[in-house]
């Protein structure tokens, strides 16, 4: 989708956090994204490489962590993890109710942590 613009946002947040914590040399960042976020990990890594290459972040490493999909059945409240993106066609493994789940985890994209030196 729009990995370059997302990575631009990530690097803006990184710059803000580094200023806040008074650190100058970035070592690595960890970005976490949900399976439902439509993120293409390779494109995100490529965007990171291109955008940091000649910047103050040159040489920093990108760690990408994918959140599995965690669902909670609306009927019986059973929570479970699945790797099926088309979860709306699933049946609850406990009570059998079909397609009625609350998404507990597996959406969005987050800057999780940064590692940097003064």
């Amino acid at each position: 989708m729009h990995e370059v613009s997302l990575m631009t946002n990530v690097l803006e947040l990184v710059a803000q956090e580094m200023e806040k914590h008074k650190v100058a040399k970035l070592r690595s960042i960890t970005v976490r994204y949900g399976v439902l976020s439509n993120i293409v990990a390779d494109s995100l890594a490529f965007a990171f490489e291109v955008l940091t290459k000649d910047s103050e972040f040159a040489g920093a490493k990108l760690n990408l962590v994918k959140d599995e999909l965690a669902l909670k059945c609306r009927l019986c409240s059973h929570s479970f993890i699945t790797d099926q993106k088309d979860y709306f066609f699933l049946a609850c493994p406990k009570c059998g109710e079909e397609g009625s789940f609350e998404i507990v985890k597996g959406e969005g994209i987050f800057l999780d942590r940064i590692e940097a030196d003064e």
Partner: protein
């Protein structure tokens, strides 16, 4: 030093979208974000709606396209105020772009503001523009498995408009199948079957719009 952060990457967008939502609420203007593939008929649906409801509502349009102001010209021909945003290749509109152009409208005068997003079923879904509802548009000239292939939009949309139903005799589009998937993804989604060419079904869409405007202005 290891710094734990947990910040949402889209927080800047969501924050501006929140500001916009407040501005729209204060002015009691209903804001609808139209999302579809290129060529489903977003601009045609707007042209019809803007002309047919011209005496009922004051309406404005924000047009998003990679290039040209062709759509803004089509929409402006109906007499409605239209502002074009060119994303210069960008695949979606975001809340900052919307914020940059809303001063072109007298919001206190408007009943409905339509945002015609860039033709794309994936990216625009992730970027909140401060709207009251997303409208998913598809057409009988496309595959009837669009909701299945691009579920995110249909999960979040308040309404799904199936356009070009006048072509149903000539194409293999199965309205029942598309509707069934739409409902499976989102039990609350309203489904409208319309043709902007023959005007079939548009009255149902207008009735829904009237209801939404009344809700917003209550």
């Amino acid at each position: 030093m290891d710094i734990s952060i947990e910040r949402n990457i889209l927080e800047a967008n969501d924050c501006i979208a929140g500001e916009l939502r407040e501005i729209f609420a204060k002015n009691k203007v209903l804001v609808l974000n139209l999302i579809s593939s290129p060529g489903s008929g977003k601009t045609s649906l707007l042209e019809k709606t803007l002309s047919d409801l011209r005496n009922e509502f004051k309406m404005g349009v924000i047009e998003g396209d990679c290039q040209t102001d062709n759509d803004a010209k089509r929409v402006a021909a109906t007499g409605a105020k239209a502002v074009q945003i060119n994303t210069d290749g960008g695949c979606h509109l975001d809340s900052k772009m919307i914020k940059n152009v809303i001063s072109a409208f007298d919001l206190s005068e408007l009943d409905i503001l339509f945002i015609e997003n860039v033709g794309n079923l994936v990216c625009p879904v992730e970027f909140d523009c401060g709207e009251d509802a997303k409208i998913a548009l598809l057409s009988a000239a496309e595959g009837d498995d669009k909701p299945e292939k691009y579920p995110r939009l249909f999960q979040l949309a308040h309404a799904m408009v199936i356009n070009k139903v006048d072509l149903l005799d000539y194409v293999d589009f199965d309205v029942a199948k598309a509707s069934k998937f739409g409902k499976a993804l989102n039990g609350d989604i309203e489904i409208f079957e319309v043709s902007c060419r023959t005007c079939q079904g548009l009255q149902n869409w207008y009735a829904w719009l009237r209801k939404q405007v009344a809700c917003k202005q209550r």
